[in-house]
Amino acid sequence: MSELTQRDSDPDLPELDAEEERRLAALLRHAFAPTEIDPTRHERLLLAALEDPLAEASPEELVESERLRQALEGHGEHENLRLARALSAAFAPSLERALPEPALEPKPRISRPARVIFYRFAAVSTALSLAAGVVLLVLPELRKHAAEAPDLASIALAQSRSTAELFRANSAGAPSDRIDRIASARSRDLRDNRYALWGVR
């Protein structure tokens, strides 16, 4: 049995993958011994061709065509809309402008002025609520403080006074030292007065 070798083949033969090989074989077979068309497929094909797309429309067709038109524009639903969307997605899934999805529920249209009034009403209500909350929180505290407020006449507050004695008492120091002592004494008076008014002294 003689076997062929690589050496025997034409080196210029084109690369041929399995699919292309099958295609060429089918070409030959169909030319050499063509088969019949499947009768069912032929009938379907014939009926499709015989259908007249421009035939006069029935009233039902007019209604349905209008419904489909609206559905394709995003208004309402139609049984063929999903089919149209599936075709669109299958044919060009990357298209940015896809067929519109049907509206889930019809929504009442709200005009812009009504929406503005609603927002204003909401803002005013919120502000009033916050203000009322602040008053409710702060008022008891204020009343409490007012109730516990010290009697100013009975509190010995530091009186405003001249700085002369401070100069006299420490006249030996430098001017800046004297200023520091004055500021410190005034701060202490201020703190004492504040504590006395708050009732914490």
């Binding site: 076997e3 083949s9 033969l13 060429l24 169909h30 019949e36 061709a49």
Partner: protein, 196 residues
């Protein structure tokens, strides 16, 4: 029904179809469509899907132009065949890969169709023979062993074992031979456009 009675019935259908009766036209296409597919479109276009598409396009053209048909003694089939050949020609011109037929083949057939009028059966025989002849012609352009491998395995659909035995090689070697044979055929097709 003899031939003359059949032609008389066909003529009546043609007249009704030209008067706008789609059922009559459907009857004519139901009778001749499978023959167009088998003998004109499938052998030239090489795939059932393409041939079906071509038949569908043929029907659409027939519907559009049937009022232009003038009755002939040989019936309506020659006219339908010319429409189908024109559709096949358009498809062949737009093809991207090699097919067995070139547009020039179809153009020649169309010229011939205009010169002579033959009956449906005669035309069908002619078309089938023409396609087979095209296959034989192509096989003559490749190595005879390649041609034998293709003839046995592809055209006659014999088993690998039988084809290998007939060629005097092992089955594994036969597979390689068949693969090379198909590659050689493709090369012949790509080179053959100018040699038709």
């Amino acid at each position: 029904m003899d031939d003359s009675a059949e032609l008389t019935a066909e003529r009546a259908l043609v007249e009704r179809a030209q008067a706008g009766d789609r059922e009559a036209l459907g009857a004519l296409l139901r009778k001749h469509g499978p023959r167009l597919y088998r003998s004109v479109l499938l052998p030239r276009l090489g795939s059932p899907a393409t041939a079906e598409e071509a038949l569908s396009r043929t029907y659409v053209k027939v519907l559009e132009r049937f009022d232009q048909f003038t009755w002939q003694a040989v019936g309506v089939y020659p006219w339908l065949r010319v429409v189908a050949l024109r559709v096949a020609l358009d498809l062949l011109r737009s093809r991207k890969r090699e097919l067995l037929f070139e547009p020039e083949h179809i153009e020649r057939e169309l010229d011939q169709a205009e010169r002579e009028a033959r009956e449906a059966e005669a035309l069908e025989r002619h078309d089938l023979d023409y396609a087979r002849e095209r296959v034989r012609e192509l096989l003559l352009r490749i190595n005879p062993r390649y041609a034998d491998a293709i003839r046995m395995r592809v055209l006659e659909e014999r088993s690998r074992e039988e084809a290998a035995l007939s060629l005097g090689v092992s089955v594994a070697t036969f597979d390689v031979v068949l693969h090379r044979a198909m590659a050689a055929l493709r090369k012949a097709l790509s080179e053959g456009a100018s040699e038709v």
